[in-house]
Symmetry: C2
Subunit: 371 residues, 2 copies
């Protein structure tokens, strides 16, 4: 991601200014993640960003001291909660910058309607437009420093999963495996666990249930979908990997399903390169599933990943923008067999000529058996 | 909280229907917390709730299986992500219920403007009004089952803090104390750590920085503001407590500041009862601070707590609705001395005649010394 790219996208969209309101984009522009911005959604934090003037950060007075210590933004405006409206402070800042009649990009996919309405009422001459995509575009291509971070994130996550699966046996609970992954992730250097799906037995039909005291039984499908936070314990860079194993001796059908799924996964990794359109990759994946008789029912087969877990481009049937070098993708073919979900997910960086895995898919090329 | 109260509030507000969109209110109405609703904000989950008809739950097809297993709502509508808009499904449901020209309560403090706009365009004859307060009001008074849960949450949190403070000494790091609290909380029965503030030394001037490798030095103020998730590891019921200690022998000023702060805390606990207005409690607190020469600069001195961390009534200068029996409040006077924050926070339930602490403030009536 790059703030200079943002300046370009702001100009290209003929915006005078963009206002960030989500924790991710405030972090992107200010280098600050405020705990209470996530926990207390009414305690808004906002960044006013233009290519012309210095940025302004608006936060509750309670968080001012932290922001002055941490943020790269020097112009910080505190609002006294309940007494002052953060949106009124925003309107004042925009007016002060001469933008009361400007073309203002808003995170309309994040900013709640009530705040939007307040801003529209305070600045009746302004044109409020969707600014999310401008911010999204500036975050799409990762810098080499970001790729290093995401590589480390993928590797720590991969290792935590391997250790949990290798240490499991018949009778091990989902919770025990999930806790093992979490503690390995944290001791490996993650700042937080973002999500921690671990399913066996009757849970295998659900995408994201909570880990439970269910014990692994013979021929259970054991599946994880696991991600951490890196750089901040309630945000920062995400990892996102999925692995599937079977307990004891797999059935013929389980063996075959997994083998075919991995074939498709490998095919996707060999297909990804600059210039490929997500819609075509999705269609190719769907067709590879159908050729092999695998059930296909997912709305996407992966996503860009960074300081947002699912960010554009989504690998969906509607993705028309070509892949570019420097994107980091989580590639995740998923199928169901006898009601149970099989899921493989790796993180890759798009290179000039193809893609390079950040996690390691190949130890999982054959169906792992939990002893 | 109570769904029958909600029915009453929906009728009192002359709403035909209320649409929940936030994780908390979807949980309130459906008994389901979807991991991806928090992680992937564009993957909307919505509940359509009226006092006349059966409720409807709208979720991404990926989460349908989980919802059919967990939710008390039987009418579940799945939308296929990217291909189908959840808001279009919502508009269809409202139309099917004969409400296309109805008075529809929306969570306008949560629902992003873009979704609101889409709904307004799809239902041009509908009147979309702020429905947040109707939902808030239905959650204000806790049932005895909820008070039991919150009591357990407060006690587990209280114990985790005590153990971390009692086990600390000069040289202990913030991170070590925060990790001790977290693991005690989880082994005590919490489902997750919601926030984990632990400050010493130079961090003592900031409200919510991340725990770090800073070590406790003599005369450091050591402060925590700590809460867990109970009932779900990324949501459910919250706890929220704060404690302050000093390392080694406190200075005279530290001793005096804490003593006065606890006096005010105790005064607040003795004042809270049904009929008291939050604004008056805030004014009384401010005046008690000023009488004692304590710095007062906070926008609120506490808040209602439940499945939302800060919920109405806030104990702010603008709170006009009287306290009622069955509210659970986090009471938190805060001051600064020599730049360092002193913070005490306990959870109490409002009873018929006063309030009863759910955590135990009195072991902290004298300034704790970390040896």
């Amino acid at each position: 991601m790059s703030r200079s790219d943002l300046e370009r996208h702001v100009r290209d969209s003929a915006l005078d200014v963009v206002v960030a309101a989500s924790p991710e984009n405030v972090y992107f522009l200010s280098d600050t993640l405020l705990l209470t911005q996530r926990l207390i959604p009414t305690r808004l934090a906002l960044v006013v960003w233009s290519s012309e003037a210095d940025p302004v950060l608006i936060v509750c007075t309670i968080e001012e001291e932290q922001v002055r210590n941490e943020s790269s933004i020097r112009d910080v405006r505190g609002y006294f909660e309940f007494k002052q409206s953060p949106i009124a402070v925003l309107a004042d800042v925009l007016t002060e910058k001469g933008l009361a009649a400007g073309r203002i990009g808003i995170e309309s996919r994040f900013l709640a309607h009530r705040y939007f309405r307040e801003l529209a009422e305070l600045l009746p001459r302004a044109t409020l437009v969707d600014g999310d995509e401008v911010l999204d575009r500036a975050r799409v291509i990762k810098s080499s420093d970001e790729i290093d971070r995401l590589t480390r994130a993928a590797q720590i996550t991969d290792r935590a999963i391997r250790l949990a699966f290798e240490g499991a046996g018949l009778g091990t609970t989902e919770l025990h495996m999930a806790d093992t992954m979490a503690s390995e992730l944290l001791s490996g250097g993650a700042n937080g666990v973002a999500f921690n799906v671990m399913t066996t037995g009757v849970h295998s039909s659900m995408a994201h249930p909570l880990p439970s005291r269910l014990e692994i039984k013979p021929q259970d499908v054991v599946r994880t979908d696991f991600g951490g936070n890196f750089g901040a314990y309630f945000g920062g860079y995400y990892s996102d990997l999925a692995r599937t194993a079977v307990a004891g001796t797999p059935s013929q059908q389980q063996e075959t399903t997994y083998k075919k799924l991995f074939e498709v996964h490998d095919l996707l990794l060999r297909t990804i390169k600059p210039g490929v359109r997500p819609a075509d990759l999705y269609a190719q994946c769907k067709s590879a599933f159908e050729q092999r008789g695998l059930a296909f029912s997912v709305p996407h087969i992966g996503h860009n990943i960074g300081i947002v877990l699912h960010e554009d481009p989504m690998l969906s049937p509607f993705g028309q923008d070509e892949l570019q070098a420097g994107m980091v993708l989580a590639v995740e073919p998923i199928t169901r067999s006898e009601g149970m979900i099989f899921h493989i997910e790796d993180m890759v960086v798009v290179t000039e000529s193809g893609c390079r895995p950040l996690s390691d898919p190949y130890p999982w090329s054959e169906l792992m058996r939990i002893k």
